[in-house]
Symmetry: D2
Subunit: 140 residues, 4 copies
């Protein structure tokens, strides 16, 4: 079993496509669901109501090895996370039992909402980063 | 050809499911896309940036007659609209050429954003309703 | 607590929209997820691999009372089901704690795959219907 | 204007999220929609009914520079494509007017459907690849 924070999920019908497998775009949503579950496991929310900061994704990638199908049960494993002053990058492995479905990463950047509704890059609060990394980083 | 405001669309791959046809939930999005195109045809937006009022859906239904498939071209026809003091109801027919795919309706209610982020029922502005009905109601 | 088969769910980020609430189309997917969980609870799958019959939706409706928001936990309750020779109709209530989010229904029709890839209406197998109704119908 | 095959699109309401912008997962669907439009421009379909070969995605990535918002009109530009014996990689730029929204790529692999419903890697048919590259590769 791959070490790391694990998010368990089952494939829903609406996530499949005419090729008979999960549409590739869902792997990005699965990764995000796992990341947000990790925020909750750290006692946080990625988007508390009325928050002044937010965490839009600035990069996302996935490499597909095997398809998922309707009703498959699988795990999204957060294998690690790395922070810079303004971003957190999460690395994922998706597994169905012992089989690797694929691997990918998401990078979220901290932004502050501007009065006009826009977003400005902001430093990531140190306490938030520390709590996320504590859950996301497997102990040595 | 069914009279009414017409919104033309093509089925995208991600909208299909393992049964080989468009997932039923997409018909609700197709109806909404057509409704929003109608707002634009009336010189309006259903959700202008910073708007104090909004139009959440309070009822939605669809009856399915025939399936849509990948790359099909189809039309969502707004057959009519009816307003009450606080709601607008739109009736739709979805057609692929001469074939009827199904019919349905959406009812949107006017709400005003409360300071706490919640929504309160509000009277629909008369000028907005008049412009919507002018586009949505086929001339007698 | 409303009696009936219960499916528990949490709102995911991708299910929200710019109005700050769950997009209305997701309530239809939530109902379907609950229905498919009920099939599993009955020892069945709505779409086993290689199946000759399928269950497309022929009608769907929902009435919205209150919005769901990001990370809300809620229950989709299957309040009952009714069968005809070729269809099964499921009735749902969506609840967040004691609060009613809305109610709706889905009607699925039994079809047999034709050799050309099309679908033909078919009688619903009696044993499948009996097992579904046993789970979906609260005891008197 | 960036040279390449252009696919024009407008942001739909259901594609936004509670942060007020397009959910990041949609950029992957926008790229795929553009790719499939390119197949049509080449006189082909990525998934003709009854086809024995298919083109699942084996890699996908996107780097986000600026957010898209409800009703924005934008272009997905296919900047180029490269083929190997079994794959085609497409590179994309997403633009709103002169502003760059982001860039990404999709790699599709040719597979042949096995009798058991699975997929096996297959050589990409030379005529298909030639027609795709002719549309995807801007003339020097």
């Amino acid at each position: 079993v791959t070490p790391g924070f694990r998010y368990l999920r089952r494939v829903q019908f609406a996530e499949t496509d005419v090729a008979g497998v999960v549409h590739f775009s869902w792997l990005f949503r699965y990764m995000e669901e796992a990341e947000h579950a990790l925020w909750r496991a750290a006692g946080l929310s990625v988007a508390p109501r009325g928050a002044e900061i937010g965490w839009p994704r600035v990069a996302a990638s996935f490499d597909f090895r095997a398809p998922l199908r309707f009703e498959d049960e699988f795990a999204v494993v957060v294998r690690g996370a790395q922070a810079t002053r303004r971003t957190i990058r999460f690395d994922f492995l998706v597994e169905r039992g012992e089989e690797i479905i694929g691997s990918g990463s998401l990078t979220a950047a901290c932004v502050r909402r501007a009065p006009d509704g826009g977003m400005q890059a902001a430093d990531a609060p140190a306490d938030i980063v520390a709590r996320i990394l504590a859950v996301a980083t497997p102990p040595a």
